[in-house]
């Protein structure tokens, strides 16, 4: 347990030093949130009802699906994982600590959005805080699991990036967080259902109801 906590601490310190991690976990999602939050809340006041939830979904999906796979594939490609294994660090621990650190970063971003959206853009608070955070945790777990899966399955960083894009873009574009999925043409709506995870789709609705 001590080793595990030590590893987590070192991992978090490294994440803070790593520009790529800061970009995908914090900078890009938060800039997107501030720009789109201003646009959505001023062009469509009704979007304030779901602003916090949609921005959290976007940030978590981006951080997990785009941010997690690359470092895992890089670790395998550059020999970091081999070095860890021969030094006695189990492979499952490396993956678990990556997941845990990603979870903490994405949780921080989600909380920043949750706190600032009502202050800056007049977004509505959820009706039930426990239900909101339960849904958030499920979203975090499922998104991180997909990110880890891509990282483990992809043979190279370019293939990993391709997989990430193939999951991230349809998920964001067609699942209804940018605009109502019901407005999409039927083929695209079906594609949204089939290509993006059903779980996301369901969670988005849950978020909306809670928001």
């Amino acid at each position: 347990m001590k080793a595990f906590l030590k590893h987590l601490l070192v991992q978090l310190k490294m994440d803070i030093r790593e520009r790529g991690t800061l970009m995908t976990y914090y900078l890009v999602p938060l800039i997107f949130y501030f720009v789109m939050g201003a646009v959505f809340s001023s062009t469509n006041p009704l979007s304030r009802q779901t602003l916090s939830a949609t921005m959290v979904i976007f940030s978590v999906t981006m951080g997990a699906v785009m941010g997690i796979p690359a470092p895992i594939v890089k670790m395998r490609e550059t020999g970091v994982l081999r070095a860890y294994l021969v030094c006695g660090i189990p492979g499952w621990a490396v993956l678990f600590i990556h997941s845990l650190s990603a979870f903490l970063h994405l949780l921080i971003v989600s909380i920043i959005i949750f706190i600032t959206a009502p202050l800056f853009f007049g977004a509505a608070y959820p009706k039930s805080f426990p239900a909101y955070f339960l849904a958030l945790f499920i979203l975090l777990f499922s998104s991180i699991a997909i990110g880890i899966f891509i990282g483990v399955a992809a043979r190279s960083q370019s293939v990993g990036m391709m997989f990430s894009q193939a999951i991230f873009l349809p998920t964001v574009m067609l699942s209804g967080i940018m605009f109502p999925a019901a407005m999409l043409p039927v083929p695209l709506r079906l594609f949204g259902w089939s290509s993006s995870c059903n779980l996301y789709y369901e969670l988005i609705f849950r978020f909306r109801k809670l928001g």
Binding site: K2, A3, K6, H7, V10, K13, M14, R17, E18, M75, T78, G79, V80, R82, A83, V86, C87, G88, I89, A93
Partner: protein, 251 residues
């Protein structure tokens, strides 16, 4: 790790295929192609590895290998030599009885190699068993007590460096220069076969070194000349290796 077809394997009493976890407590490994995260610091890397071994951080090992553990330098800012020494230091975190080094000096400059060799000799003096895999024959000859030459996955020759070089067909080279060049132009003398003349030096090859040297010196004395420089070079490990490779190719 490959499963063995037959027989058993034991490293410090542990079977690597069964007692992997226990074995890691007594085994240090430095791989040729390995790395650490770009942004990790030497101090953090050592603390991390030691924590997984259930030990307090062994910063003394970093100091011993000339790595400033207080430095804020990150892994990607370190030179190749520093990285190699850091990996060696990490492999020693658990005070291993056996250390496996895979091409540890590949890509190092002359100074880096010399420092790394000194570190390996230090370990050897401390009683650590070192298994060194290298393509550098000079390195193997200078560092190893016993050498096994592996060709196509099989041991082609095994023994001390002297045993391996003496077992070959290559001949000893005698290079000789006299004051009045009485032996030039060169010719065969007894068991010494003339090879070539390089400036004022004559070069002979022989199998029986003592006999050949005596023949040459007798001839110099008979001519009333005197020896200015005499060198006897045994076949190097590299020559022996090439001989084995060529032998394998002919077969």
């Amino acid at each position: 790790m490959c499963r063995s077809d037959e027989g058993t394997m034991s490293v410090k009493g542990f079977n690597p295929q069964v007692d992997g976890r226990k074995l890691r407590q007594v085994l240090g490994v430095q791989l040729q192609a390995s790395s650490l995260p770009d942004v990790i610091r030497p101090k953090e890397a050592m603390a991390l590895i030691c924590s997984w071994h259930g030990l307090s951080p062994r910063f003394d090992i970093l100091t011993r290998f000339g790595i400033d553990y207080q430095s804020k330098k990150q892994y990607h800012e370190m030179s190749t030599g520093q990285k190699r020494r850091l990996h060696l230091a990490l492999s020693l975190a658990c005070d291993p009885a056996v250390v496996i080094l895979d091409e540890p000096t590949a890509g190092l400059d002359v100074e880096g190699r010399a420092r790394f060799h000194a570190s390996i000799r230090e370990l050897k003096a401390a009683g650590v068993t070192i298994i060194l895999a290298t393509h550098d024959m000079a390195e193997a000859e200078s560092l190893c007590d016993r050498i096994a030459i592996i060709i196509k996955g099989r041991i082609a020759s095994c023994g001390t460096p002297a045993q391996i070089t003496s077992a070959g067909q290559s001949e000893t080279r005698i290079t000789l220069r006299t004051k009045r060049n009485c032996l030039l132009p060169g010719r065969d003398m007894g068991c010494a076969h003339f090879l070539k003349q390089t400036e004022e030096y004559g070069v002979w090859l022989c199998r029986d070194t003592a006999e050949a040297v005596m023949e040459l010196l007798k001839e110099v004395r008979k001519s009333g000349d005197s020896v200015e420089d005499l060198r006897v070079e045994r076949p190097s490990l590299e020559e022996r290796f090439l001989e084995l490779i060529e032998g394998g190719a002919h077969q």
